[in-house]
Amino acid sequence: MTREVRVTVNGQEHRRRVEPRLTLADLLREELDLTGTHVGCEHGVCGACTVLLEGEPVRSCLVLAVQVDGQHVTTIEGLAPADGPAPGAALHPIQEAFWAKHGLQCGFCTPGIIMSVSAFLRERPRPSPEEIREMLAGHLCRCTGYHFIVEAIEAAARALADDPHRR
């Protein structure tokens, strides 16, 4: 049994016929070639596959593709402004902060963290280090020891506070 799904990802509408067991993460990666969303544990623990669904952060491995029919998804590919001088080449301020503060090593967990952070900073524009660590508990990083990630998020919060229209 397959069903048709119509979903808008990063502003672009797609239609696909899918099996009900296909996850949103696999729809993005396998059907739409949006491989920036990473799949780690496939059962909701690692946070690598986090995307925005209707603006809210969700684990895309814990949402079925058939459930997002008619909805809007934002992935890491859709975070940076596409209207800059080199479309798609510019970085979002959160990405810039991760780059500047060495908030990643292998980068596997990074897209999920950045999508979570984009929702988190909307809600808490000036988070304390404790709030950042509490939020980060939902994301596993095996390289960094988290310190540089916390610093990157603090830097991103400052950058967005100075330049709120880039949120």
Partner: protein, 289 residues
């Protein structure tokens, strides 16, 4: 891993949802937030032949507070209850912060968490501590299942396979009641190794008029410490009496040992957390319930 194949329906009415469930012959599962079910499918711990997605059923998304009661419909996300709690209840706000992580709470439902019946989860214990009720609808109509008759074993409740939990109801603590909540876990957002929640109201003469103490992660189901509650009711809650009640409560537990903690460790931590949460409920340090 990937889930095994299943059929999927997204009924647009409550009656259709219930007849779909009944049509699944015990092999259908309800899908709401999916934050417990989809991991079980991925790990192939569950292999239902049919998922009944209730997200498009009208009337299940209500979050209503009326005459001391809070009713939460089957598709209300944990995140929505957290938003309600930010303005209305320091107890709910505090408990919800400990339920997994923001991306899980954005999707996971309150009712789903309660019905999933993980014994180490926070909300089932809160439902017990607030004399909650599960509203169940099935082919034979609607029934109310009190929280203290809902949980049977890990991931097992008295809800029948053809019943849908359409809502849960919490009795909100009376004005002036205090609360305490504590859990021990390895990382923030993990399931608790052990946890406790207490709610206490006192009469004008300072004696305890009503107290509830419930544990999670301390056995096969969430547990209410009824003997300890009875020992405190009608008494002036002195530190010595709270410590006694906490010991009584922990002694009645039958926690399991596993790779994370031994049974004895859980029992000792439960006694400590019970004393702390009762103490916090008494002095009102958590704020208005």
């Amino acid at each position: 891993m990937k889930p095994a194949p299943f059929d999927y329906v997204a009924p647009a009415s409550l009656d259709d949802a219930i007849s779909s469930l009944a049509g699944g012959g015990g092999d259908a599962k309800v899908l709401a937030g999916g934050q417990s079910l989809i991991p079980m499918l991925a790990l192939r711990l569950a292999r239902p032949t049919l998922l009944v997605d209730v997200n498009r059923v009208p009337g299940l998304d209500g979050l209503r507070e009326a005459s001391g009661m809070l009713e939460v419909g089957a598709t209300v996300r944990q995140r929505q209850l957290e938003t309600w709690a930010a303005a209305r209840s320091s107890l709910f706000a505090h408990v919800l912060r400990h339920v997994a992580h923001p991306p899980i709470r954005a999707r996971g439902t309150v009712v789903g968490n309660i019905v999933h019946a993980d014994p180490a989860s926070e909300l089932p214990a809160l439902l017990l501590a607030l004399d909650g009720v599960v509203v169940a609808r099935g082919p034979r109509g609607e029934r109310m299942i009190p929280a203290d008759r809902f949980y049977r074993a890990p991931l097992t409740t008295t809800l029948a396979a053809d019943e849908l939990a359409t809502a849960v109801r919490f009795s909100l603590p009376p004005a002036g009641a205090g609360w305490g909540f504590a859990e021990v876990s390895r990382r923030h957002g993990d399931f608790a190794l052990v946890g406790a929640v207490a709610v206490m109201a006192r009469a004008g003469d300072g004696t305890v008029s009503r107290v509830r103490l419930a544990f999670f992660g301390a056995g096969g189901t969430p547990v209410r410490a009824v003997a300890a509650e009875q020992a405190l009711t009608g008494q002036v809650a002195t530190p010595a009496r709270l410590a006694d009640a906490a010991r009584t409560a922990a002694a009645a537990l039958s926690p399991d040992g596993d790779i994370h903690a031994t049974a004895e460790y859980r029992r000792r931590v439960a006694a400590t957390l019970a004393e702390r949460t009762l103490g916090a409920a008494l002095d009102g340090s958590g704020g208005a319930a």
